[in-house]
Amino acid sequence: MEGSANSDAPGTGRSATDNAARLARLLHRDCTRLLELYSERESFPSPHVPGGDRLVSLGPCPEPPTPGQQVGHVRSALRRCMELLECLIQREVEEMGEELAGEYESLRKAVRDRLGHLVHSTGALLGDEEGGCPPPPQIQCDEGQDEVEGSGSFAVKLWTYRVLLELIHWTESASHTLHVFHTETQQQQQQQIL
């Protein structure tokens, strides 16, 4: 896994890890904006957040993870987030159709595309190895109904809100982890050159 990070050819400009870190930062901003748009649309009181546990949580790692393992860890969470976002879009389209085409809907699609790209690029960094931490359980959209409190529309809205919060959390985490990973990779490359 460490070796896969060395795929960044030194001196070829921006590396793959750097690109992934930048994409994670961009995605974090997009997710933050997406939540803002959703809160505005639904007139949610901003200081109030829905309670409850995290929708995406990782199991404890058997031993302290290396930076590469941390990237794999975050990638697993991003994949769950991707599944949650797909469920979210599917539910909204089922309920409202595809008539609505505002900024929220556009950004929602952009986040989905970029999230997929980030999952793919981090996978390329890791060589499709998840690392030593157990991946979170896969999410099914049908099961998501049980996650929400009750079956009303408001419960779906709260669940959507929590999904967006989860996206913000894990994209921020990915941004940080990829930055650390990128820094260490560069240091290792410099040591090898010396």
């Binding site: 649309r41 639904e42 007139s43 949610f44 009181p45 109030h48 957040v49 829905p50 309670g51 089922e94 309920e95 409202m96 159709g97 008539e99 609505l100 409190e149 009750g150 079956s151 009303g152 529309s153 408001f154 809205k157 709260l158």
Partner: protein
């Protein structure tokens, strides 16, 4: 759960206790009370058994025992079961909290015991510890009122309930349940209106309410496009604001779902078979709309657009168009088709009809024109509406030979002229012109000589070599061929001077002409208008007028204001055109562009003659109606004359005083005056008058004055004599002084001045007036003054102004010692220099100079010289003594010896007269004195 059971037992005990207090009753207690809640409808149905028909019903919020209903109702028993039933609609959702019900029978004032409490649990019972809000996802019409309740999770605190982001007033229903009531709800946004229940830290729960309208669709219309199936459409009504799929309006047509309409994409529903009656049902959670339509298939034919429109044959003046139909059944349909032709400035709509029409011939097209054609058809019988329009199809018609030209021959002299022709319009040229062919022949030479001209040429010069007329033929040429030649024969040239040209007045920028009919006008008339005086390539306009017409109006677009036109009417016959009538006029008169020219002014005595010439015709810009003459006076113009005859070009302004004048002459037309031309003149006296007035009159006046003064002086001569020339006693001197005295002409030597010198060692023989050579002046002391007024400083002439008895002596003491006096006639100047008064200086000439007659001899203040002392002895009895030093002191004494010893007085009038008289002219003293004294 345990707590709820305990609460129910306590309530039951309480009821039993109250029964015991009421005592025995005659009415039976209702029994078998059961409660049946309908949660979505928020209703609670009560059923019980009783023989009574009037009942008191009480409903409580169980936990706080708040009475929410206390009502007496009359209820009849069911015919089959004998049960009595009553339904209560709760203002709040029944899940909000537990409700308890009791009932008793009533008969007027007597009542039975209350029945045992029956309770339906709410969602706030301890067994349900989570947060809840009710109602969920309710769909209500705009303007309705609703109550929402929030059940707070166990161990959480309630903070607020927000409706659409706004905090509402909440009412507590139970330990965990709170409710708000919203009135007159507005329409929801896309995803519904959120009602959120919050704890101080979290969003606990919430609900969504969908507020909207029932369907408002209208106007169902069904038609057929293929003569078999049906296509029904309608107009969507107002927005229902219900956008969730499950809340959208659902459409069915004759009981069949309209899938596309239900997707919200169209408001149309198709069915493969035509049915004469159609019913559309539009339904949403808030209401239902039912629309119907009924018609025969033949009455609702809406044809599709023709396909594959093509032109199979295109000529210059017509074209054949074909198309096909996408539906085979159309071939048997009697239809009417509309073809829309759009060309350059040529648009038209043409209708054709036939069975299964698929081909038409378009006639009356124009050559060499691009047309765009569209076709649409409809059923001819029971026309419902025009079908869809075909795609535009373009055709271009072929070219054809041009139309014949409109030709005219304009003669500008007896043997020169120019043939003109009008350009052909697009409709007339039938294709782009490539040029013109001009041919001419004379009667003598029966031979045409053709000339080719480019398409931009519109004229050709003609020269008549001999007196015979020539005929010119012009033809236009395009790729399709030559037009029919247009021939014209040279008309006879008639100069304006040979005719009586009438004045023509324009009307609103046009010329309205009329003429007497002419029998020879077999081919009508030609009206020609040309700018007057134009030579060579002139803008010649003409218009041919039918024989029957007697009038013509020249349109303003070919006329220019302020330009004089010569308008001629020619008679057209088999031969050359002949002139019938001619005018000259302006379509619109303007003020002259240039004023008069050659304006001159001449003075004749006190009159002024103004003359001018008219400006050139091209500058007149209108018929000159006259002239106005102004006199420019400061900032205004004074009208002097208005000459209404334009032929008069001079004017005499009479009786002007001597001064400078500025005249402005303006020409005017019916449009007004021009700016005018200015001429200025300064009036002067003529020579004879100037001599008379300037010289003779002042001279005469002067002489008259002199004569008057002389007469006056003569009359008053005694007084004048006393006033100005008092008698001076004659000197008494020894010897013979009685001889007549003559003037003493003392002529000092040239370049000498009389200089009085004071010197201690002055010698008597040196005292007196001393002629000083001029060169010595500048070396003399300050006491010596020079007669600066004298033109002849070297010449000292002394005249005894008053001879004989006219001597003066009393004013000697007043004379200034430094005074300089000039006296003389036009021939003489007398200058005394350095003669000082005794009081102001040591008497330079005290002894030898002039001495006043009555001077005191013993004045101690005055220095006395030897000469003075000696002289006093001689003058004790005499008073006045003549000066005695001339002979002694003068360096030229010898030359003047002839005059020495003469008794002539040497008194000077300057010293004898008062000081004020010093400035009086002395020139005529001699003759004046004689005059006063009566001597000649």
């Amino acid at each position: 759960m345990q707590g709820w059971v305990i609460l129910a037992l306590l309530l039951s005990l309480g009821v039993l206790h109250s029964r015991g207090q009421n005592g025995p009753s005659e009415l039976a207690v209702p029994h078998s009370l059961t409660l049946q809640p309908d949660l979505p409808a928020q209703t609670l149905s009560l059923t019980w058994q009783s023989d009574s028909s009037l009942f008191d019903i009480e409903i409580f919020h169980t936990e706080l025992m708040n009475v929410v209903l206390n009502e007496t109702v009359a209820v009849t028993a069911g015919p089959v079961t004998g049960q009595r039933g009553w339904t209560w609609r709760s203002p709040s959702p029944l899940e909000c909290t537990s409700h308890s019900v009791q009932i008793r029978a009533r008969n007027q004032q007597s009542v039975s015991q209350w029945s045992p409490l029956q309770t339906i649990p709410g969602s706030d019972i301890p067994e349900k510890s989570e947060s809840y809000m009710y109602p969920q996802d309710k769909v209500v019409p705009v303007g309705s009122n609703m109550t929402f309740c929030c059940i707070v999770k166990e161990k959480y605190n309630f903070k607020e309930i927000m409706y659409k982001g706004q905090t509402m007033n909440a009412t507590r229903l139970s330990r965990r349940a709170y409710a708000i009531t919203v009135t007159n709800q507005p329409a929801s946004d896309n995803t519904g209106t959120n009602v959120v229940c919050c704890s101080p830290m979290f969003t606990l729960t919430g609900a969504v309410v969908f507020v909207g309208y029932p369907p408002g669709d209208e106007g169902l219309v069904c038609e057929t496009r293929d003569l078999a199936s049906a296509e029904c459409s309608w107009k969507k009504g107002r927005d229902t604001h219900l956008r969730r799929k499950i809340n959208r309006t659902n459409y069915t047509l004759n009981g069949r779902d309209c899938l596309e309409a239900n997707e919200g994409k169209t408001w149309m529903c198709n069915w493969k078979v035509w049915e004469e009656n159609w019913t559309l049902v539009a339904r949403n959670p808030l209401g239902t709309v039912r629309l119907t339509d009924s018609a025969q298939l033949a009455d609702r034919v809406h044809l599709l657009a023709p396909a594959n429109v093509t032109a199979v044959e295109v000529e210059a003046w017509n074209a054949t168009l074909k198309w096909s139909w996408p539906v085979a059944a159309y071939k048997k349909l009697e239809m009417i088709c509309q073809l829309k032709l759009i060309g350059h400035e040529l648009s038209s709509t043409r209708n054709y009809s036939g069975t299964g029409l698929s081909s038409v011939m378009l006639e009356d097209l124009w050559p060499d024109v691009d047309y765009t054609v569209t076709v649409r058809c409809g059923s001819k019988h029971a026309f419902w509406k025009s079908g869809d329009e075909s795609a535009p199809y373009s055709i271009h018609t072929k070219m054809d030979r041009p139309d014949a030209l409109d030709v005219w021959l304009w003669m500008d002299s007896s043997n020169t002229g120019r043939v003109f022709w009008k350009p052909l319009s697009e409709r007339e040229s039938h294709g782009a012109l490539v040029g013109y062919k001009v041919s001419q022949s004379s009667a003598e030479e029966d031979m045409w000589t053709p000339v080719s001209l480019p398409p931009e040429r519109l004229n050709y010069p003609i020269i008549l070599n001999n007196s015979s007329d020539i005929t010119v033929a012009v033809a236009a040429q395009n790729p399709a061929g030559l037009s029919q030649p247009s021939a014209v024969t040279t008309p006879a040239y008639r100069a304006d001077s040979q005719l009586s040209v009438s004045e023509l007045l324009g009307t609103h920028g046009t010329f309205e002409l009329s003429w007497q009919p002419n029998a020879n006008a077999s081919r009508g008339y030609v009206v020609e208008w040309v700018p007057t005086g134009c030579r060579g390539l002139c803008p010649v306009n003409w218009e041919k007028v039918p024989e029957s017409d007697r009038s013509f109006t020249v349109k303003p677009d070919s006329l220019e204001g302020g330009v004089r036109y010569t308008v001629s009417v020619y008679v057209l016959s088999a031969g050359a055109a002949s002139l019938l009538q001619r005018w000259q006029g302006y379509s619109q008169e303007m003020i002259p562009a240039q004023s008069v020219v050659e304006l001159s002014v001449n003075q004749t005595g006190s009159d002024v003659l103004l003359s001018w010439k008219a400006s050139a015709m091209e500058h007149q810009r209108g018929f000159i109606r006259g002239y106005t003459i102004y006199l420019a006076n400061a900032a205004r113009l004074d009208l002097v004359a208005n000459i209404s005859d334009p032929e008069v070009r001079s004017y005499r302004v009479k009786g002007l005083p001597l001064s400078s004048y500025k005249f402005i002459v303006k020409a005017y037309t019916s449009a007004g005056e021009d700016m005018g031309l200015t001429v200025a003149i300064k009036m002067e006296i003529e020579t004879a008058e100037m001599l008379f007035v300037g010289i003779l009159v002042p001279l005469a006046a002067m002489f008259c004055c002199l004569i008057l003064i002389s007469i006056c002086c003569y009359k008053k001569r005694e007084w004048v004599k006393k006033a100005f020339y008092p008698e001076i006693p004659g000197p008494k001197v020894p010897g013979d002084w009685s001889s007549p005295q003559g003037p003493l002409d003392v002529k000092p030597s040239p370049h000498s001045l009389v200089h009085i010198v004071e010197s201690p060692e002055w010698d008597f023989s040196k005292k007196g007036l001393v002629p000083v050579p001029e060169e010595e002046e500048e070396f003399e002391n300050d006491n010596i003054e020079v007669d600066t007024d004298s033109d002849e400083p070297a010449l000292l002439r002394y005249y005894n102004h008053v001879v004989g008895d006219g001597s003066h002596s009393n004013h000697v003491s007043d004379s200034s010692g430094s005074s300089t006096a000039s006296g003389g006639s036009t021939q003489t100047e007398v200058t005394y220099t350095g003669i000082q008064s005794p009081s102001s200086s040591q008497g330079v000439c005290d002894g030898g100079g002039y001495r006043p007659q009555m001077q005191s001899a013993a004045d101690p203040a005055e220095p006395q010289g030897e000469f003075e002392a000696d002289f006093q002895d001689d003058s004790l009895n005499t008073g006045y003594k003549p000066q005695c030093s001339w002979q002694l002191d003068s360096p030229e004494a010898e030359n003047l010896s002839g005059s020495l010893g003469s008794p002539t007085s040497v008194t000077s009038s300057q010293f004898l007269l008062p000081e004020s008289s010093e400035e009086k002219p002395q020139s005529s003293n001699t003759w004046f004195h004689s005059f006063l004294s009566g001597k000649s």
